[in-house]
Amino acid sequence: MTAAAVTSHITLRASDLARSRAFYEKALNLHVIGEDPAGRLYLAPGPGDAAPVLVLEQAPDLGAERPALDPDSYIGMEHWAFELDSEDFADLQVVYRRLKEIGAEIHHTVDHRVTLSIYFLDPDRNLMEIYLNAPRERYAAHMDHPYGSLSALDDRLAGKAG
């Protein structure tokens, strides 16, 4: 891949397409920018954006009850991450409050030093992350030592400290 390579989007098979759509519209302020003939929904950060960051498709009904995939128990995706369009921690606090308001299950929060991250579960129990990039100096100082000495962020996100 070249230096121009960009993480574009994920396509998720949803057990209930309408439910997942409503979730991502509320949880991440995503907007449906189109639907294709197969019924896939294309979601972008803004209503006028051309490029999707998330595509949702209805999973086929296989006629059997399928338990939600616990990402810890399967080979496959553990999580997908979206970057918040902000340099301001207050905006991540807004996301945190939003997730709480809509009853999303917050899996954990963490200061990764290169990012400040909230992990949450979607209606199919896919683990998703929304993160704020750390300020450039802090990011650059820690990029070679990813994810050392982690600490939870819940109190700061809830506005109880810092």
């Binding site: 993480t7 574009s8 098979r13 991440l28 302020n29 128990s73 399967y74 997908w80």
Partner: protein
């Protein structure tokens, strides 16, 4: 309130063989290794500046099950914009050289895409655009044909 997602950042994958998968994403897809933690997590990116990792591979837990990659709830595919048609051709050559599958190719007008699978069978889409502005949404899904005419082996 008005927060907004900027972009997709990364995918983290639980894999059966972490060394094999880390090699795949470096050798075939050309991502650079930014760091690893005791052979537990491999951080890979093409954007050192502001996207710390685009792919992170880590070992599946002991006893982890294989999921049905074509029918499971959850990940259907992960998509990356790799730049130009030249980049897509180069990627195609590396896939062939490494014996990675080319599942299908799609000419969708301003978007040209190929699909491959990582060593655990997860489906990945790599595409290029014509660079002349944002592709129309229909070019995300309207398939005009394959890319056979563009991706024919050059030394054939």
């Amino acid at each position: 309130m008005a927060f907004k997602v900027r972009r997709s950042g990364h995918i983290v994958i639980r894999v059966a063989d972490v060394e094999r998968s880390a090699r795949f994403f470096q050798d075939v897809l050309g991502l650079k290794l930014i760091g690893s933690q005791a052979r537990e997590m491999y951080f890979l990116t093409a954007d050192f500046d502001r996207n710390h990792h685009q792919v992170l591979v880590r070992p599946a837990k002991p006893g982890a099950l294989r999921s049905d990659t074509d029918h499971r709830i959850g990940l259907a595919s992960a998509s990356f914009d790799i730049g130009t048609l030249g980049d897509l051709k180069a990627l195609h050559g590396r896939l062939l050289k490494n014996g990675a599958p080319v599942v299908r190719t799609e000419d969708r007008g301003t978007i040209k895409a190929l699909f491959t699978r990582d060593p655990d069978g997860n489906l990945f889409e790599f595409y290029c655009t014509d660079g002349a502005g944002p592709p129309p949404l229909a070019d995300r899904y309207e398939v005009l044909g394959t890319l056979d005419h563009l991706l024919a082996p050059q030394d054939a």
